[in-house]
């Protein structure tokens, strides 16, 4: 089962909920954690994964961008006309590329009548993988031994500074998800546009984290529109409850959206978070609350494809 954690507004507590949900579940389910906030990944600051150093565990995410062979280019300008992203400019009898604007669609190379365009890989980010709770890098996941202590599989991505295109890096992180018979928890970026859609799409359930303020409510409404558009079942976690007003709760009632959990505003939580603490370790009652949330989600998501398989 894939559970994504999203929010319209930034800083409402997505990472807090995602990280602590993973920690609350690790003793009962196989957990993979995917940090898809590739512009500003933060989950590793709380989970302290041991990242694997082998080549298969850390990979560069690249886009195929055009390389023009000037000796073959006739300056016909078809490549510039084909490019929907203005990444090729044609003037005189030359073509100039702007790789930072290229989406890697391959249109220019495909339609160049002179065969003057080939594609080269341009790195836009990296994906790293590792384990939380593994004794050392390179050691296989503890959960592989039946009945042994389970660890959390950890994968995150990071776009290179100055790179505008986050979605391909998000997709590279997502491609590592192996839900088999456990749970994949996805920490998504804030907002409602393409990097968020790339993170949330295809998940079985989405947790929207908000705060009880007019900002939180406004951005929750946008996020609700997004998950409805994507057709994903969802519920809301109200973080810092008690700090603002009660309009978020009223909105959820009116829209029939389940409020899965309210986490009260508490300076002790804020202090633990500030230092990179794991709330479920510092405040065990929160672990119970998150396991309760998990049971609600499991009930709401219905039987999963992999379970239906076993039933048959």
């Amino acid at each position: 089962m894939i559970v994504s954690v999203a929010s319209g507004k930034g800083g409402t507590g997505k990472t807090t909920v995602a990280v602590n949900l993973a920690l609350a579940l690790e003793d009962s389910v196989l957990v993979d954690f995917l940090d898809c906030d590739v512009e500003e990944p933060n989950a590793h600051l709380f989970l302290h994964p041991v990242l694997e150093t082998s080549e298969s565990a850390s990979e560069s995410v690249t886009l195929p961008v055009p390389v023009i062979d000037e000796s073959k280019c006739s300056g016909c300008g078809i490549c510039a006309e084909v490019c929907a992203f203005h990444a090729i400019l044609s003037f005189g009898n030359r073509a100039i590329t702007f790789p930072e604007l290229c989406h890697g669609c391959g249109g220019c190379a495909r339609f160049c009548p002179e065969g003057a365009i080939t594609e080269a890989a341009r790195e836009i980010g990296v994906v790293e993988a590792g384990w939380v709770g593994a004794p050392a890098a390179g050691v296989p996941r503890p959960a592989a031994e039946a009945g042994a202590v389970r660890g959390i599989g950890f994968i995150h991505g990071r776009v290179n500074i100055g790179t505008a295109l986050a979605p391909p890096v998000v997709k590279a992180v997502r491609s590592k998800a192996a839900p088999a018979n456990g749970v994949v928890i996805i920490d998504s970026p804030p907002g409602t546009s393409c990097p968020v859609v790339a993170s949330v799409k295809g998940s079985d359930y989405c947790i929207l984290v908000t705060e009880p303020t007019p900002f939180g409510l406004n951005d929750l409404m946008l996020a609700v529109d997004m998950v409805r558009e994507l057709g994903i079942p969802f519920g809301v976690v109200i973080n810092r409850a008690g700090l603002g007003d009660d309009k978020v709760a009223a909105f959820c009632r009116q829209e029939n959206i389940p409020v899965l959990l309210e986490i009260p505003f508490d300076r002790r939580f804020a202090a633990s978070y500030a230092r990179g603490g794991q709330l479920v370790r510092d405040f065990p009652e929160l672990g119970d609350a998150l396991r309760g949330l998990w049971r609600q989600i499991r009930a709401a998501a219905g039987p999963l494809p992999e379970e239906e398989e076993t039933l048959r």
């Binding site: 929907a84 391959g106 776009v159 505008a164």
Partner: protein, 313 residues
């Protein structure tokens, strides 16, 4: 004319509350909300919309079922799906049975969310069955507020092109500032360091990075500083809620001093900031029963004074 971008890397550090306060404190300015996929500044400034425009950017592939011969009969076995690099074209057989089976007779399906509008499928289709149509990917607005003109926008649900919408908002703000002879453009930036942030940043005079003393806030601020430098924009830092972890705030100060980044201000945690958001007014507003000014409001006044002199230099 000077352009100030208020940004953060990490979301929720207080950008919008600070921009809302600057709206009150700065003379002769236009405000621009460039957080186009989760805009909030209007909730503090209560704008009256004067102009509302559709924003068209990018295109989307649309299949004409009358012209498409179907995946199984296509002269080159559904060339559109083979050509699409974004996995936006699904074939009928893939929905039901397993891989390797013959293509069904049905039509390919174009997923509008995955389509990036490159147009390769339309150019490749041997039957001319795919056309590219303009997409309304959002709206932008020019409004009046009690504090001056404001340009803001709303990106459509699950839409792309937030960077281009940001560029449109900034273009409009600049034109208003030029026409009215305004001294400042004050921009509320989006979180992150990706496409809309880069579009918000090009050519501004100062990037004020609002951070908080948490491990995540500090980590993200460092990436924001690197981004500003990458684009040749001068960064300055504001430590918001600095008293929630004074040791963490010290670390931010040390980082900034070692990197030569100015700390433009430190703002204490103050529930009055949340109170102002709930009332829907900037935190430096004195209204009704809120005559006394809290410690955060006072700190933000000092922050603006520093930012103003930095912009003047």
């Amino acid at each position: 004319m000077k352009e100030l971008l208020v940004m953060s890397g990490k979301g929720g550090t207080g950008k919008t509350s600070i921009v809302g306060a600057f709206a009150v404190l700065a003379d002769c300015k236009v405000l621009a909300d460039c957080d186009v996929d989760a805009a909030d500044l209007h909730l503090l400034l209560s704008p009256t919309v004067r102009i509302a425009e559709e924003f068209r950017a990018g295109q989307q592939a649309v299949l004409d079922p009358a012209k498409c011969v179907g995946a199984g009969k296509c002269s080159a076995s559904a060339v559109c799906a083979e050509a699409c690099r974004f996995g936006a074209i699904g074939l009928p057989s893939q929905a039901g049975s397993g891989a390797g089976s013959a293509l069904g007779a049905g039509l390919p399906h174009i997923d509008p969310v995955s389509c990036e509008g490159c147009g390769v499928c339309a150019r490749t289709c041997p039957h001319g069955a795919i056309s590219m149509e303009d997409v309304v990917s959002g709206h932008w607005f020019v409004s009046d507020t009690a504090y001056g003109p404001m340009v803001h926008a709303r990106l459509g649900v699950a839409q792309e092109n937030s960077g281009k919408l940001v560029t449109q908002v900034r273009r409009e703000a600049r034109s208003i500032a030029e026409k009215q002879g305004l001294g400042y453009i004050i921009t509320d930036g989006p979180p992150g360091i990706g496409c809309p942030v880069i579009s918000s940043m090009s050519g501004v005079d100062l990037a004020l990075i609002v951070t908080e003393p948490t491990v995540a806030g500090t980590h993200d601020m460092q990436r924001a500083v690197e981004l500003a430098r990458h684009f040749g924009v001068k960064p300055a830092v504001c430590i918001n809620k600095y008293d929630l972890d004074e040791a963490g705030a010290k670390q931010i100060e040390q980082y900034c001093s070692s990197e030569g980044v100015q700390i433009a201000g430190k703002v204490p945690f103050d529930e009055e900031v949340v109170g102002a958001v709930v009332r829907g007014v900037p935190v430096v507003t004195r209204d009704g029963s809120h005559r006394a000014e809290g410690k955060a409001a006072q700190a933000i006044r000092r922050l603006w004074a520093n930012v103003e002199s930095e912009l003047a230099s």
